[in-house]
């Protein structure tokens, strides 16, 4: 106890911090900037898909299911199982799966968390309604489309 107590550098640092802006980002008013090749929700281009099924075979989380769309097999993505590793995009021989910057996927409707393979007309309607939140138009199409 008799040794000299050196002054901790924290004493000054803490006083200086009071006058600085907090490091907290005020989400959700301020959205974070993500890089271009961020691994967000997948964008699936049905025209390029040849139905080989490699994406479903390679998916580590078994989150891709091949379903029948107009007599061909196309992938259905279960985003609640997906781990966003993008092995599907790598395995795809035709580059039909691409990354997007969209990451706010939380939703109260589980049918939002599905990317269904849809033909062109339905896709146009979905793009118009997709406003960037989880509850996009895909929700209602998904709901109606996935009723047994």
């Amino acid at each position: 106890m008799a040794k000299k107590i050196k002054l901790s550098p924290m004493l000054k640092e803490v006083l200086c911090q009071i006058f600085r802006k907090p490091a907290t980002r005020k989400y959700p008013e301020v959205k974070p900037k993500v890089p271009d090749d961020f691994r967000g929700r997948q964008i699936f281009d049905i025209d390029l898909c040849i139905g080989c099924g490699l994406c479903a075979r390679d998916c580590p989380a078994e989150a891709i299911e091949m379903v029948d769309v107009e007599e061909k097999k196309k992938p259905l993505f279960h985003l609640d199982l997906c781990i966003f590793c993008y092995q599907c995009a790598e395995s795809c021989p035709r580059n039909a799966i691409k990354t997007s910057k969209f990451f706010e996927l939380a939703s109260t409707n589980k049918y939002d968390l599905v990317i269904k393979p849809q033909t062109k007309s339905k896709k146009e309607m979905r793009r118009k309604n997709d406003s960037g939140t989880g509850r996009s138009g895909i929700g209602c199409f998904g709901f109606f489309g996935s009723l047994p």
Partner: protein, 330 residues
């Protein structure tokens, strides 16, 4: 008994119970905001403007939760210790002048400094009992740590408090706080600094945070409490901080007295009182942020080997100052 409306107003509303309650909530908010800013984050923001209602919201939330009493505990002590502790702290505040006079007018008496400090010890003892009566190893360890710490640190607390009594030549708090044309903090700065450190240990804040060490003993003596009783236990701790700050203000910073402009002494005294209490709260919070938590044996070493000898030395030095400055003190 005739209804003395002024008396009831003073006890219940201002500067009595309601004022103390709001001051506690306000000081808690200031503490949390200052701690947050020192740690480069935001602190309470959304409840009320700038989050000022957050402590109140926390209190109300806890009141609404289920209150579980473990079957093994010694019921009466377990159930009433938090409320008793809280009420004794508030009662002690009744003897400290807030707006130029005590809550109950003319209730000060010779020697009420010792009385107030004894009440603080008794209330701390009830905090210990609240941990001891919940039969849980974590609570037991937390409670013994509380006891060891506050019993040890009461000695220097008393001695440093007596330095102001020496300077003011009186043992009554209202006289001590009124007889400080120059605040004693400037006359005996060593006693002021050491008193703040001792207070830090009495209030169980970093670096003397041992009884509350969450990462070691879950929640210390609070472990088994929930619902209403936890609300009062937390409130008791908050009032303890305010009480500590008020004691510092009364003994060393010339109490609520300060310059008065344009008449209305009660208003200005209250304002100075609040500002000084906030100042002391900020100092203790700064010390909390800057240090890590010490072990119980290190805490005790600091007390018995450093603070107690220093307190006796400080007393000797203060008596010398008192004799020399006799003309200055009123």
């Amino acid at each position: 008994m005739s209804l003395d409306l002024a008396f009831i107003f003073r006890v219940l509303i201002f500067p009595g119970f309601a004022f103390i309650f709001s001051l506690t909530m306000f000081c808690d908010w200031v503490e949390r905001k200052i701690e947050a800013r020192m740690q480069n984050r935001m602190g309470p923001t959304y409840t009320g403007p700038a989050g000022i209602l957050q402590p109140f919201a926390d209190f109300v939330k806890l009141l609404a939760k289920e209150d579980i009493v473990p079957s093994d505990t010694k019921s009466v002590v377990f159930k009433f210790a938090p409320v008793l502790s809280f009420s004794i702290f508030v009662f002690a505040l009744f003897f400290l002048p807030i707006d130029g006079a005590n809550v109950v007018l003319n209730s000060g008496f010779e020697g009420d400094l010792i009385f107030v400090l004894a009440l603080v010890s008794v209330a701390n003892f009830f905090l210990f009992l609240s941990g001891w009566s919940s039969t849980n190893p974590y609570s037991a360890i937390g409670a013994t740590r509380v006891l060891t710490q506050f019993l040890g640190y009461d000695i220097p607390l008393f001695i440093f408090a007596l330095t102001s009594a020496f300077l003011a030549n009186d043992l009554s708090i209202s006289t001590i706080s009124a007889s400080q044309p120059v605040p004693f903090a400037l006359l005996v700065p060593w006693a002021f600094v050491l008193f703040i450190i001792t207070l830090q240990a009495e209030l169980e804040k970093d670096p003397f945070d041992v009884p509350h060490a969450e990462t070691e003993i879950v929640a210390g003596y609070e472990t088994e409490y929930s619902g209403r009783r936890l609300a009062f236990l937390k409130l008791a701790k908050d009032v303890q901080i305010v009480l500590g700050a008020v004691i510092v203000v009364e003994l060393f910073l010339s109490g609520p007295y300060g310059p008065v402009f344009l008449g209305l002494p009660a208003f200005w005294y209250t304002l100075w009182f609040i500002l000084k209490v906030l100042f002391v709260v900020m100092i203790t919070e700064y010390l909390t942020c800057v240090f890590a938590r010490l072990r119980i044996d290190q805490v005790l070493v600091i007390n018995w080997r450093m603070l107690i000898p220093l307190s006796i030395l400080s007393l000797v030095a203060t008596v010398a100052v008192a004799f020399w400055l006799n003309p200055m003190v009123g």
